[in-house]
Every structure is written in C-alpha cells, then in structure tokens.
Symmetry: C2
C-alpha cells in the first residue's frame, strides 16, 4: 500500500487489504495464536517461542500494533502484548462479509457468463 494507485480503490478494499497484509506472514499469524492461547504475553517470551531473532519478532509485533490488532502495556521492565479482541471481531465480520459475497457469486465455472 501507499505504493499502489491506492486512492483509486475504495476505503473498504484498502482496509481489507491492510489487515490481510498483516496476516500475510506466518510469524504474525503465529504471534496472534500465541497471544490467544498463552496467559503470558510478554514480548521476550513470544520471541523465544518463534524461530526468529528477537529483533525480527519485535518488528512483527510493531506491525500488528500499528494496525491496533494488538496492544502493548509496559509493565516495568517487560512489555505485555494483548490482542485487541474488539477490533479482531470487527475485522472478522469484514472478512466474513467479503467471503460471503465472494462465495455466493453468480459467476461459477460452466455458467452462462463464461
């Protein structure tokens, strides 16, 4: 984004693409799953569970945070990341609307339109 002639697409399309991009890397998918399953969500612990350097994981965390999908709370020396469940539910709805629209299409292989 901010690369494409991005302004020519609807805000809705851009929003969906933005979130999709956030999930477009297995590490970020893994991070979200980790935050969902673990009760400890300390930055260092997250990095320790992933096959990437601490620096790289931190970068992925910042990307998720930039979209507000996760939030970080500083607790003394450590930082605790938590999922923004509100937003995730909202995003889920957006994706569902998109997929429903797409999977109940009038244009399928073999149809008159093809």
């Amino acid at each position: 984004m901010t690369y494409a002639k991005t302004s020519a697409f609807t805000e809705e399309q851009q929003q969906l693409a933005r979130v999709a991009k956030a999930l477009a890397h297995p590490a970020r998918v893994a991070i979200i799953q980790l935050l969902a399953s673990k009760t400890t969500c300390i930055s260092g612990d997250i990095a320790a569970e992933l096959p990437l350097s601490r620096t790289t994981v931190s970068q992925h965390l910042q990307e998720l945070k930039a979209l507000d999908l996760i939030r970080g709370e500083i607790d003394g020396l450590t930082v605790c990341y938590c999922l923004n469940t509100e937003l995730l539910r909202q995003v889920h709805q957006q994706f569902t609307a998109f997929f429903l629209e797409a999977s109940s299409t009038a244009c399928a292989p073999g149809d008159a339109c093809c």
Copy 2:
C-alpha cells in the same frame, strides 16, 4: 513465503498467511469483488475497470489463479475468469476459525496475565 524460515511454522499458519497475502492488495480484493458481482468475467473487461495497466492486472490475476482462488477458461480469443467458490468457502472457514480463536482469548488488556 519461501522467504521466511517458513518451515518452522505449521502448515496451517503458512496456509493462512498464503491466502492472506493473496488478499493483501486492494487490486486483488477488487478483482474478487468484481468477479462476484459481474456476469461478465473476461480478462480484458476486468482490466478496464481497474486503475492499473492491463499487464499489471493480468499479473494479479495470475497470483490469484496460482492459489486456485480463481480459474480461467479460454473461450476462443478471450479468457473468462471465475471464482472458485468451493475453495473460497473453505478459506472462509479457516479464517473464521482463526478469528474465533483470536477474539475469544483469555488474555485481554487489564487481565491478570498482563
């Protein structure tokens, strides 16, 4: 992918990331929406409706086709693209499972874990 230390993540995580990456550009989101709404799905028509060159659109179409999200049928001189609704429904379920897992997490801001 095939960039990350990709093998270290689960196939499930990689699959989700792969599909997310396919949706990570507004043009590809737009293409899917177009195919869902229009009854004509001819390559050239698709390109004409997007603010990108025909070549670029063709490239995006190939990316979606590579994941089998869309399928192209050659009809003489033109090529008709259609959504793979089966796969889209499947992918929708994967995303739903992921989002449900994520949005019903035990770790929320203010919780004991943070």
